[in-house]
């Protein structure tokens, strides 16, 4: 399997970044980098070849939805699988994220199992 996939985890809370990073390690993905909002994430995505983006929604600076839209409108990044991992739980928001082209959406608080399932789902076409 593609255990060498490169992940970028974007969340303004370092606790959450660390949790996700640990869970990815447990799943066998060792190549994980972090950013604390969309503004710092976007240049990283443009500068290095990442395979998967996992992002929070509510962040100071550039929120996750804007980051998702920026990724989708960049020809080089447009096809990247994006998983939203957020406490934003309004139906309209989930619809909005879907319209913007998100591949998966996990609501916080979440379990390790749910994250693993959603990841497997969004990575299936790439595998």
């Amino acid at each position: 399997m593609k255990k060498d996939l490169r992940f970028l985890v974007v969340d303004d809370f370092s606790t959450m970044r660390r949790i996700v990073k640990n869970l990815l390690h447990d799943l066998g993905y060792a190549n994980v980098q972090e950013a604390d909002d969309g503004k710092t994430a976007l240049p990283m995505l443009q500068a290095e070849p990442f395979d998967v983006l996992i992002t929070d929604w509510n962040m100071p600076g550039m929120p996750g939805l804007d980051l998702l839209k920026a990724v989708r409108s960049d020809p080089k990044l447009a096809k990247m699988p994006v998983l939203m991992l957020t406490a934003e739980a309004k139906r309209d928001q989930i619809v909005e994220a879907a319209k913007a082209g998100v591949n998966g959406y996990v609501i916080k608080p979440f379990t390790a199992q749910v994250l693993a399932e959603k990841l497997e789902k969004i990575l299936a076409p790439a595998a």
């Binding site: 969340d11 606790t15 959450m16």
Partner: protein, 251 residues
């Protein structure tokens, strides 16, 4: 008739001007008619102006009272900024606690993984040695018990590993509670701004608030907040020294 007093009042208040209007109209005297209309509208507006004047007086009185209320000044100048600092501190504390927990989880996981893996390998070796038939009854019995022990150690280790993942996941409370606290901090900040503007507009000065800044230590002040609490101890050693000093003074 009960309507009579009302009719009298109306007559008294409006009768004269109505008569003037009617007479001017009958006589076709435009200047006199218009003068009567002016006096009529003037009478109507007087009530409105009286009400406005009353309102203005009450507003001034309320503002004066507000300016004189030291509690409000203290709230705007000291307690609300303090509340924000306190919430900030809660955020920092929970963040530190969550990271400390994760430090321990991260350092424990490989230890228990190593122990579980070794137990698994040893249980297989024990089984093979026992099943080879070369061991005496004493050794065979010992190998059986050792194998059972290593099987249990392996399964316990796996359970601890999965518990550690749960401990890790539980730290996500820090993100969720943190997001909520940040919103409250924002709200408190807006409240502070509005209150400060109100205090400023009513010519209050922040210095007046200092008169009421005496802390009530009787009920306790809660945990020390850096940047908020003044004159707090610096660690347990500081406490011990102070206590010793207090004891010496008493003696």
């Amino acid at each position: 008739m009960s309507a009579a007093p009302m009719t009298d009042t109306l007559q008294l208040q409006w009768g004269e001007v109505c008569l003037a209007l009617r007479e001017a109209l009958a006589a076709g005297d435009e200047p006199r008619f218009l003068a009567a209309v002016d006096s009529l509208t003037g009478m109507r507006e007087r009530g409105l102006w009286d009400s406005l004047r009353q309102l203005d007086l009450r507003l001034r009185a309320a503002l004066d009272q507000f300016r004189l209320d030291p509690r409000l000044l203290h709230l705007a100048g000291k307690e609300i900024p303090d509340a924000r600092a306190r919430l900030d501190h809660v955020l920092r504390l929970t963040d530190e606690a969550a990271h400390r927990t994760m430090d321990l989880v991260e350092s424990s996981t490989p230890l228990v993984a190593r122990t579980a893996a070794a137990a698994s390998a040893l249980s297989s070796e024990c089984r093979e040695a026992r099943e080879s038939g070369a061991a005496s009854p004493y050794w065979s019995d010992l190998l059986r018990r050792l194998e059972a022990h290593f099987v249990a150690a392996h399964s316990d280790g796996e359970q601890v590993k999965s518990n550690l993942v749960e401990v890790l996941m539980a730290q996500s409370y820090q993100d969720l509670s943190g997001q909520i606290i940040r919103r409250v901090i924002e709200l408190v900040g807006q409240l502070e701004e509005e209150l400060a503007r109100l205090v400023h507009d009513s010519h209050g000065t922040a210095s007046e608030s200092r008169r009421v800044g005496v802390e009530d230590t009787r009920r306790g002040l809660g945990p020390a907040i850096p940047g908020v609490s003044v004159s707090t101890v610096d660690g347990q050693q500081d406490v011990d020294e102070l206590l010793a000093l207090g004891g010496a003074m008493k003696g």
